[in-house]
């Protein structure tokens, strides 16, 4: 039977606990000084570059005026995952990158850190004062099942709960939060923070049913029968392995998950050389994590030129500052084992005939993930790349009453995109019910 959520099951002896915050929290004084720098732009570019269109100048002015709860409310109204987005958003590519100060003195407002200050401070105040930031509306007699307890579903469920909708989240894993719990680089956010956020989101009335596999334990069709609407927020499937296998070879997402959540997990004793295959942000994350964990030589092997990498430039730069080296134009061939132990990785040089072997005792493969929605047996229309198709401008799928959001529709983007999807899907559902009611009224 589905179990109720239990977010206190994380053990303290997890490897991620060795990491320090790369952007530590602001004190009240620091936040005030930073908030005061904000120019309060009209039609601000930071807002235009936020997928959830948070009114950033407004929440910053609210911090400056001492209305921190108001600041948090401004954030959460648009993005119920404002607390984790404050930590994990690639702000350099979004709001902060668009700040007009970039063109002035090159010192944009630290929007992420201010958002973290506002949300953390307000949530702490909510706990200590007992005055909730949000009060759910009375029940409206609708029920929604959400599949997957990652950011998209959590955001959607929280918005629905606040609108008086009964929201049940079905999660196959024991730990909720999706990649926020298992995949975010520990120097940005650790699993506790993610679980605390999940707890806060659920506190508005949504329920979590963990350890239930939709498609196996319970059929998609029966959910659709039981509920007024369904939301698919299952994220992506397994990581691609590129046929690299054997001892010492890890899928990057599995290795990150182990570092973040596995009790007593440790890197192989004496691991001093690691090779990471990939050119995306997950590859950068694991490379940087390995370097920070003391692996002396971390090489990022990418099959094309640096300019073609999908990873953010600022992330690559940060990894390089940690000592990560990039090798371009290397197409992986095989993992090399000697005496049953990994000793290297073999590559074909792209644009040449050389076969290159990089010695390593740890090989992490971050070559993207497959899609996972097919396992649901939902029968929703999918795009050519396996992602779920949605009606443009909405989060409605090809099936009536079925909505979707997050990585499963975009192929793997940011938490903030999932949070936006969750809110938009909730609005789509509420709008659909409203017009349904209006129709019914018209038809007597």
């Amino acid at each position: 039977m589905p179990t109720e959520q239990d977010t206190s099951r994380l053990k303290s002896n997890r490897l991620e606990r060795h990491f320090e915050d790369s952007k530590p929290p602001y004190s009240a004084g620091e936040a005030l000084i930073e908030a005061d720098r904000c120019l309060y732009c009209h039609d601000a570019p930071c807002v235009r570059h936020c997928p959830t269109t948070i009114d950033i100048p407004k929440f910053i002015a609210q911090i400056a005026s001492g209305n921190t709860r108001g600041a948090a409310t401004t954030i959460f109204r648009q993005n119920m995952l404002g607390a984790s987005c404050a930590r994990v958003c690639p702000v350099e590519e979004m709001c902060v990158g668009a700040c007009v100060y970039e063109q002035f003195n090159g010192q944009p407002i630290a929007i992420g850190r201010l958002q973290r200050y506002a949300t953390d401070t307000a949530c702490a105040d909510e706990r200590s004062s007992g005055r909730p930031l949000f009060t759910p509306a009375p029940p409206i007699g609708r029920r929604v099942a959400l599949i997957g307890a990652g950011p998209a579903s959590l955001a959607c469920a929280a918005h629905l709960a606040l609108a008086g909708v009964e929201a049940d989240i079905y999660e196959r894993e024991e730990l909720p939060g999706g990649l926020n719990t298992t995949g975010v680089a520990p120097y940005k956010m650790q699993a506790e923070s993610s679980l605390a956020e999940v707890e806060w989101l659920l506190s508005h009335g949504a329920r979590l049913r963990a350890g239930v596999r939709v498609g196996e334990d319970i059929a998609f069709a029966s959910l659709l029968e039981e509920y007024d609407a369904l939301f698919i927020g299952v994220g992506l499937g397994r990581g691609r392995t590129l046929n690299l296998e054997g001892p010492g070879v890890w899928g990057a997402t599995e290795l990150i998950r182990a570092i973040k959540t596995e009790e007593g997990f440790a890197l192989p004793a004496g691991a001093s050389r690691a090779v990471v295959i990939g050119g995306g942000n997950t590859a950068i994350d694991i490379a940087r994590e390995l370097a920070l964990l003391g692996v002396t030589e971390v090489t990022l092997a990418y099959r094309r030129r640096e300019a073609a990498m999908s990873a953010y430039a600022h992330e690559l730069a940060a990894a390089r500052r940690c000592g990560v080296r990039l090798r371009e134009n290397l197409r992986p061939l095989a993992a090399v084992h000697r005496g049953g132990a990994l000793c290297g990785a073999r590559f074909q040089e792209v644009g040449g005939n050389d076969v290159v072997e990089l010695a390593c005792d740890l090989l992490a493969v971050a070559a993207g993930q497959t899609t996972g929605v097919q396992a649901l047996g939902a029968g929703v229309r999918c795009n050519a790349d396996g992602t779920v198709w949605v009606v443009p401008g909405t989060r409605r799928t090809s099936l009536n009453r079925v909505f979707a959001g997050g990585d499963c529709i975009n192929g793997g983007r940011e938490v903030v995109d999932a949070a936006a999807d969750g809110r938009i899907a909730a609005q789509d559902m509420l709008a659909a019910w409203r017009s349904e009611a209006a129709r019914r009224k018209r038809n007597g």
Binding site: L32, D36, C41, D43
Partner: protein, 450 residues
């Protein structure tokens, strides 16, 4: 290096900067350290019958991260024994004979004035300053601003001081009056050798919303205090300028009120001040600010080719006119430099909501005035639909632009622009010659203007 020295009604000092009477001049050791740092003079913390002070005494108004934009105090005159003050004054004057040492005094009766002036002169002070200004505490006892607000009382006490004093007598004026000329003229007619202004402004600096107490709080209660600091400078500039321009007042003016930088000082001197007094800025940042106060002023005078501070004195006075004498035909418009514009659009929204709807944007639906330029002379009884339009060629989409025909040259956009020099006001040549409101009235009815 320009000569910064001054002769202020016979009181000389190597530069125009005197510490104003207040906490920074509370004791001999403080004044000695100030003089060591380079201050030109000091007006000692007001002497009188020693009083008892309360806790706390100060309050400040911050504007964002800008600390102490305004400041208030409910401290009274010296709470130290008079004998100690006079001993220290004598020692200071002995060690720093070239600096101006001025005794600020506040007592009640004629006999008390006679006595305290004698003791001040015995201590070696170069001048006395009659404190007719404090708007808190002392005025409730019939002193301070209670005197300064009554020209007849002020004149009477000032004439006593002139009678008893052999050193110059400065009268320190309160700004808590309707017209600063009244106490100023009264003091001059009573024989004052110089005027100091402004003293602090009667004020409540804030309210503690947790305690529901006016600030500064004394336990759970508060009272009004004396307001000063950078935020009062405009008030002081106006009052100093008004006295400087009045032909009946020939006495030198010692300007007080928000002087924090050499530029503030230069502005006061340009409006006619002969010395400047500083208190709040020192309370905020210490005596060491004298370094740039003197270096900056000297550099400014050098750059302007002025050999001495006296050349700057009153330079801006002739350009101060009554509103009715200003040129109605002078016209300027705003120029936004697209190269330095950072696209914050504060000018757009300020013009739209706070001025004349003549700055346009291409970024979002533009709510500026899109009708015929008429400077809002025509009816505007409807909110017009916003217009989507492209930016002028070669302009970034976030850079706003000015409808010059509609611009009324108010300056607001330039004031709110965070980028120095990005928005400038450009003069637009007019066919018509200078004409003021008063001239227009006179032309319409020659008889009305004597």
């Amino acid at each position: 290096m320009a000569d910064l020295s001054i002769d202020f009604c016979g009181v000389t000092s190597p530069n125009p900067y005197w510490l104003a009477s207040g906490p920074p001049t509370n004791s001999g050791e403080q004044v000695m350290r100030a003089f060591e740092a380079g201050w030109g003079g000091a007006v000692w913390k007001t002497l009188g019958e020693p009083i008892v002070n309360v806790n706390s005494r100060f309050g400040a108004m911050d504007i964002g991260s800008a600390k102490v934009a305004g400041f208030t105090n409910i401290e009274l005159i010296t709470d130290r024994p008079l004998a100690a003050n006079f001993t220290e004054m004598a020692e200071v004057k002995k060690r720093y004979p070239d600096r101006a040492l001025i005794a600020s005094l506040m007592v009640e009766t004629r006999e008390e004035w006679r006595e305290i002036i004698r003791r001040s002169e015995d201590a070696g002070c170069d001048a006395i300053e009659l404190n007719f200004g404090c708007p808190h505490g002392m005025c409730e006892r019939g002193m301070g601003s209670a005197v300064g607000q009554e020209p007849r009382v002020l004149a009477e006490i000032a004439s006593w001081a002139k009678e008893f004093s052999s050193v110059p007598v400065l009268v320190k004026l309160t700004p808590n009056v309707g017209d600063i000329l009244e106490p100023g003229l009264a003091a001059v007619r009573a024989g004052a050798d110089g005027l100091s202004l402004i003293n602090t402004i009667k004020s409540v600096i804030g309210v503690d919303l947790d305690l529901m107490t006016p600030l500064p709080a004394v336990g759970g209660e508060g009272t009004h205090g004396g307001y000063c600091g950078p935020a009062v400078k405009p008030i002081a500039l106006h009052m100093v300028g008004a006295l400087a321009r009045d032909m009946r007042i020939r006495t030198p003016l010692s300007a007080i009120g928000g002087v924090s930088t050499w530029r503030d000082a230069a502005e006061f001197v340009a409006l006619g001040a002969g010395s400047v007094q500083v208190c709040t800025a020192v309370m905020h940042k210490g005596y060491r600010i004298i370094e740039d106060l003197t270096e900056g002023l000297s550099e400014f005078l050098d750059a302007r080719g002025m050999a001495s501070l006296t050349e700057l004195m009153g330079q801006a006075s002739p350009n101060f006119r009554e509103w009715g004498d200003l040129d109605l035909n002078y016209r300027i418009v705003a120029d936004i430099n697209p190269d330095t514009c950072i696209g914050c659009q504060l000018c757009y929204v300020a013009c739209l909501d706070g001025a004349h709807q003549c700055i346009h944007t291409s970024q979002s639906p533009c709510h500026a005035w899109h009708g015929e330029p008429d400077h809002a002379q025509g009816p505007r009884a409807q909110v017009a639909a916003p217009m989507e339009h492209a930016a002028p060629a070669n302009m970034d989409s976030r850079t706003p632009w000015v409808d010059e025909a509609e611009c009324i040259g108010c300056n607001l956009c330039a004031l709110v622009c965070p980028v120095p020099g990005c928005i400038t006001m450009r003069e637009v040549a007019q066919g018509s010659s200078r004409e003021s409101w008063n001239e227009r009235l006179e032309a319409a009815d020659p008889q009305s203007q004597g």
